[in-house]
């Protein structure tokens, strides 16, 4: 069981989630104590050990929650800078119907094919009161590269640099592209992909558009979570 916990700890998906780390540490200490007192110890241990074990199971199950923040979770406020130096804070966006945060990359081949249509899509929904921010959390891509890439593609949205992938860690983002739609009260309303294909001609499900249409119409988002393959975010701590 210690081995399993060690593996979980090594798993980069859990790193940065301090509460989980604390729980894991507690489990370590309890297990260590149990294993040390296994041979000797008073009769009381016969009662305490099973109770401790049950406590462990409880903590264990609650620790293995999905690392990514799920629809329904509340996001902490954050401030990040665009490549032109302007600061953007989530709490300033209270008047938006929603803030769409898109983890982006200058190089990932799962992101680039969207460049042919993301600009028009964003402009259409900006008119409807939606805010769009791209976030670059790749430690391998500099602000200069981000700036050049954004200008080349004429993006109508800022591309914020997530230094040390702080926001990516808070949201549990792992790939590009990966989208979180955050409501005015900072609740996550949608988490997942832009559409079911990076190639326009193969798209059959415009998941982000559908979620935004639901939000604008005041409906509950019908499909709150979607998944897709993508390039892993190149975290500063390595992964």
């Amino acid at each position: 069981m210690l081995e399993r916990l060690n593996v979980m700890y090594q798993d980069s998906r859990f790193r940065g989630n301090y509460l989980t780390e604390l729980k894991l540490l507690t489990i370590y200490c309890i297990l260590d104590y149990i294993s040390k007192t296994n041979e000797k110890g008073p009769k009381a241990m016969k009662i305490i050990k099973p109770l401790l074990f049950l406590a462990l199971l409880f903590i264990g199950f609650t620790s293995v929650k999905s690392f990514a923040s799920d629809p329904g979770d509340k996001v902490d406020d954050f401030t990040l800078k665009n490549y032109d130096g302007t600061a953007y804070s989530l709490s300033d966006m209270k008047d938006s119907k929603a803030v769409v945060v898109m983890f982006w990359s200058c190089e990932c081949p799962n992101v680039q094919p969207y460049n042919d249509r993301i600009g028009d899509f964003v402009k259409e929904y900006q008119q409807k009161g939606i805010t769009f921010w791209a976030i670059n959390a790749n430690s391998t891509e500099t602000v200069e590269q981000v700036s050049e890439h954004a200008k080349k593609n004429d993006y109508p949205f800022p591309v914020l640099k997530d230094v040390n992938n702080v926001v990516a860690d808070k949201l549990g983002a792992t790939r590009t592209p990966e989208v979180y739609v955050i409501g005015p009260d900072k609740t996550i309303l949608y988490h997942g992909r832009i559409s079911d294909s990076k190639f326009k001609e193969q798209e059959t499900s415009l998941d982000l558009k559908n979620a935004l249409d639901d939000i604008i119409a005041g409906r509950d988002v019908a499909v709150k979570t979607t998944k897709s393959f993508g390039c892993n975010i190149k975290r500063a701590q390595g992964n």
């Binding site: 081995e3 399993r4 593996v7 090594q10 798993d11 980069s12 998906r13 293995v64 999905s66 690392f67 990514a68 081949p109 549990g172 983002a173 792992t174 790939r175 990966e178 079911d196 979607t226 998944k227 897709s228 393959f229 993508g230 390039c231 892993n232 975010i233 190149k234 975290r235 390595g238 992964n239």
Partner: protein, 158 residues
Amino acid sequence: MALAVILALAAINGYSQDIKPLENTNDLEAIKDGAKGSVLLVNFWASWCKPCVSEFPELVKLYKNYKDKGFQLVFISLDDATDIDKAVKPFLEKQGVDFTTYYNKFAKPEDLIDYIDKNWQGAIPSTYIYDKSGTMQAGFLGTKNYEQFESEISKYLN
């Protein structure tokens, strides 16, 4: 004539660097079942994914060193179907892959992703390790080197 055809077919079957499509969870189940009794490492990669490409030779080396010690390795490529012939096969050949690998042909990526791990959002490279009874014991995102992979699988080899 018939003999020539049979021999030709046998020769083709004998050429084991082949890449097979995975279309549904039954295909995955079959792979896992086939690996029971061995430690299984499943690696999700794509030819366009730089970190995947950089750790690929480490995994090939691991397979070659441990395949006779109760270890199986399954590569699953997430390249587009149209790139299998022009990008994936040449890459596999260059890497010295002389064993069967697979590529994703699921209609919906969620079905593949969720079958493997509900906590996985689809980022690659992603590696999962199953013990000899077929139970998943470890999963990690991101590049690892030979020593790290070796240390992981060693835990379950005996």
